[in-house]
Amino acid sequence: MGMVMLLLLALLAFMIIGSLIAAESEDLLSAVVCVGAVGSGLAIIDLLLGAPDLAITQVVVEVLCVAILIRVVLTRRDETHETHKDTFAIATVLLVLGVLLVLGGWAMTTLHPFGQPLLASDAPGVAAQYLAGGVAEVGAVNYVMSVLLDYRAYDTLGEATVIFVSVIGSYAILRRTGRSHRAARSQEGES
């Protein structure tokens, strides 16, 4: 087991502990801080595995998300937190989780071995062609971009559509209170 592997396992344990604290904490603010810690661990893992593009995106998006969540948590107190003590529900959830864990572990055995590059030049499929012809066919030195915006641009279009729809949807949900209040206010003005 190499040095990188040890670091990865330590980061993984750190992230699991962080998620557990985030899920179990009573205080929303400390839960948000724990989510931020988990995201930073993921960014360092991306960096260790040689994916700087992902690491940059992960760091920035994590900072943004934590800033947004802290801002929201500070203004809006959530008093609806309640504890469930239903034994049957907890037992069912644990049982389903156990079955999923076994099935997931079984599925893991068919995956590509960890740490071996998936995009090897002798790999079957389109990966070899991307690596061999990327610079000549597209002209981008950054292979990630030549895959994202040229070979697989349809996927990026779908991803961009998802972001666009989620932003528009959040506007729609958050503006409805204002609009109904405006309607109520104008009705008050008329009467």
Binding site: L64, A67, V135, G139, A140, N142, V167, G178
Partner: protein
Amino acid sequence: MNSGMSLIVKTVTRLVAGFITLFGIYIVLYGHVSPGGGFAGGAILAAGLILVLLAFGREATLRMMSHDGALAWDCGGALAFVLIAALGYLAGGFFVNFLSHGEPGQLNSAGMIPLLNAAIGAKVGAGLFGVFLALAVFRPGRHREDPS
């Protein structure tokens, strides 16, 4: 929040915000040469605007980038992305890279990938900032200043 944070935070923000924006633009424009790209650069741009919003408060920031402005940049970026993709029909199909590939490693290379990156950067930056505005500035029961 309306008056913003302390003088120290405001001074540091005034010094740093421009560099954050510059770095975001660099990440967007050099996405095809070095690690980065439209999404990461757009998120950095949004982070710079959110820093200004947190430090200076609502009024000063909405003068720089209003809510409608964020919405316009978001929709404009999405439209530009699809339009550039549709321009590929000039060369035979949707998303066909019709511009010259240039010399790999230079800024002016990879055909329309920098243009697509710029569109995604505008879309993601304005979208994330707009979501922050919606979550943090809109108050329940109090609509934004809208004369219409």
